[in-house]
């Protein structure tokens, strides 16, 4: 299979859907002339023109609000938020308008709106350009939350988002844009929401890893293998909806679980997953549910401090070893 970068896979999904459906359009800061600050939408302006690849003012309320109004009026917008940290500038529109419009209208409003968000720490970008914001919105019914970790999933999940009728927050990790992987060429290739991927099968411990942490978890699993620990690594792929069944079945097999994400530990996505496993699978567990996540401070600028705060392979290894498997 041909290989694409995560960035190219996202771009391909957007272009295919824009060719297929004239109602799909892209709106956001620097998405046109600049081609997106991360280059994801490069040259899309040339193909689709400025009507459908719309550069906006630095104006997140207008981006999300007008994308919502367009969605209510029959369009299928892709709104880009340049840094996940800026989601809060459009907080009311996302939380009070986008998420609730269908419910408040008695299910009558269709909101086919995909919000693409760049997420995570790209290195020395400081506390306002590095956050992983997905769990902020897990407490808001009405949104779907997607966290692709591979190029194939990025493409397939984005296509599912763009063909759906619900608002989706699509978190793209900045450090994954350059990573490569096989991506199917079939324009009908889609990855359904609510189906976790078992990235590595194992029997001793379940490592549930979100977004970029999937790759760290897979590296950790190789090191653990040499220590005689056979880790299963699972990527939930979507946090809302969450594929509880795949997670529970894995825990049933391994009896131990470590949850890894780059978001802060307190009330991060792992808190919900841990609570769910405690409620629904505690009888299968032979040890505590352990979370590996960013320490509970804003992300520092200094690279050494930043590395200290962010979760890494060493933290995953430490967490798994603390479970004293095979001892």
């Amino acid at each position: 299979m041909r290989e694409l970068s995560y960035s190219e896979a996202i771009r391909e999904a957007m272009c295919e859907e824009m060719r297929r459906d004239p109602n799909v359009f892209l709106i956001g800061e620097d998405v046109g002339l600049f081609g997106g600050v991360w280059g994801v939408s490069h040259d899309m302006l040339q193909e689709f023109g400025e009507t459908r690849v719309r550069d906006t003012a630095i104006s997140e309320i207008a981006i999300i609000g007008s994308a919502l109004g367009a969605a209510m009026s029959g369009m299928r917008p892709i709104a880009e938020i340049m840094f996940g940290d800026f989601l809060m500038c459009a907080g009311d529109q996302i939380v009070n308008q986008v998420a609730k419009a269908r419910f408040m209208s008695g299910g009558k409003a269709n909101i086919p709106l995909t919000i693409r968000i760049t997420s995570g720490a790209p290195g020395s970008s400081g506390a306002q350009h590095s956050q992983s914001a997905e769990s902020w919105f897990m407490n808001i019914p009405g949104l779907k939350i997607v966290v692709p970790a591979t190029p194939a999933d990025a493409k397939g999940l984005l296509k599912t988002a763009l063909r759906g009728e619900d608002p989706v927050l699509f978190f793209e990790h900045k450090m994954l844009y350059g990573t490569k992987g096989p991506v199917p060429e079939d324009p009908e290739y889609m990855v359904p929401f609510g189906e976790a991927a078992i990235a590595r099968e194992g029997k001793d411990v379940t490592i549930i890893a979100i977004s970029m942490m999937l790759h760290k978890a897979l590296e950790a699993a190789e090191i653990l293998k040499k220590e005689g620990i056979d880790a299963e690594v699972i990527d939930p792929r979507t946090l809302v909806p969450l594929d509880k069944n795949t997670l529970i079945q894995s825990v049933k097999k391994t009896s131990r679980v470590v949850i890894v994400h780059e978001a802060h530990k307190h009330s991060g996505p792992g808190a919900e997953i841990a609570a769910m496993l405690a409620e629904e699978a505690i009888e299968y567990l032979d040890g505590p549910i352990v979370r590996v996540a960013a320490k509970n401070v804003p992300l520092p600028y200094n690279p050494e401090l930043e590395n200290y705060v962010l979760p890494g392979i060493g933290d995953i290894l430490g967490a798994v070893r603390s479970l004293k498997i095979n001892q």
Partner: protein, 340 residues
């Protein structure tokens, strides 16, 4: 601004179709009576939630909506009953929604603050001040992308023009010359604080200049002035002329919400504005101009009362939702119940 109805020998039927004049009167009276009935039914216990009545502001809602085409779209506010009725909303489904019944516009899940009818181009009232303005800009954006000759109109109050959402939405609409009307119902108070304590400018219409489109000031209690200004703005927008900001000076006769003690404004001021009641002014004007006589207008009023009796009994007799209905309609696709 000319004082309403003071023009001598006004020939209204030469300027406006007669059925438009009667419809303006009928709908304003319908809005007023809807509010009166809703307030009574709230006291009586049929309606559980808050009501922000628009008594006194009927001319802005009805005049603006009747100047639009059926395919045009609006966003509304917390004081939105008049906007819905103006745009063709059915008082039966409105009253049932206020009563929280499953026959209501939003199946009892929305209430007064979230009334909507997408078939009529009503994209929703809104519980957040200025929350609907960017949404209306989005509707205008959709019309612009699809090259459809439709117009969006955002209703909002004076208080909303101090919200960031207004400014961001106006800026985007100005840059893109979108077919939208920013319709400000300036009732002089943002909740319980006078406009003078919320904005450093007495006329909010000047804010349009920052965004590159015209702002006009009209007498919001003169339904024909509202109709004319909106019609002109809509025609301009349809021809690609871009947005217009209309500031309609008006007044709410009642509190911000039912039960508001209104300590923030003098009763003399309220009484003075009641003398400028938009419905009474239009009634007198129609009679003076010889369009209708008293009996004609009483007949219209009588038909409205009948319609509202039906709306209230529809709401009273409408079934209540089942508890399980609370869990439906959050998503279009629940992924086999993984989300609901």
């Amino acid at each position: 601004m000319t004082k309403i109805g003071t023009q001598e020998n006004e020939d209204l039927t030469r300027q406006y179709p007669k059925d438009l004049l009667s419809e303006l009167f009928r709908l304003m009276f319908l809005v007023r009576e809807f509010e009166v009935r809703a307030i009574a039914e709230r006291r009586g216990g049929l309606i559980p939630g808050f009501i922000h009545s628009c008594v006194g502001q009927e001319a802005t809602a009805v005049g603006a909506c009747l100047a639009l085409d059926p395919a045009d779209m609006i966003t509304s506010t917390h004081r939105g009953h008049g906007h819905l009725i103006g745009k063709g909303g059915d008082p039966r489904y409105m009253m049932a929604e206020l009563a929280g019944r499953s026959a209501g516009y939003c199946l009892g899940r929305g209430g007064s603050l979230h009334l909507s009818d997408f078939n009529l181009g009503i994209l929703g009232a809104n519980g957040i001040v200025a929350g609907g303005i960017p949404i209306a800009v989005g509707a205008a954006l959709a019309f612009s992308i699809r090259k459809q000759p439709q117009v969006a109109l955002a209703f909002f109050g004076d208080g909303a023009t101090n919200e960031g959402a207004f400014h961001e939405a106006a800026n985007e609409a100005g840059v893109w010359k979108l077919p939208i009307i920013f319709f400000c119902e300036n009732n002089l108070y943002g909740e319980g604080t006078p406009q003078s304590k919320q904005a450093a400018v007495p006329d909010l219409a000047i804010r349009a200049a920052s965004y590159g489109f015209p702002g006009v000031i009209i007498d919001g209690n003169d339904v024909l002035a509202v109709y004319d200004a909106t019609r002109e703005a809509a025609e301009r927008a349809r021809k690609g002329g871009g947005p217009t900001f209309i500031e309609a000076k008006t007044y709410r006769h009642r509190g911000h919400y039912e039960g508001d003690p209104q300590v923030y404004r003098p009763t003399e001021e309220i009484d003075a504005w009641k003398q400028k009641d938009p419905i009474q002014a239009f009634r007198k004007r129609l009679i003076k101009a010889g369009v209708y006589n008293d009996a004609d207008l009483e007949e219209i009023e009588g038909s409205v009362i009948v319609q509202l009796n039906e709306a209230v009994s529809f709401a009273v007799n409408a079934p209540k939702p089942e508890l399980k209905d609370a869990l439906a309609g959050v998503y279009a696709d629940t992924h086999n119940g993984l989300v609901f």
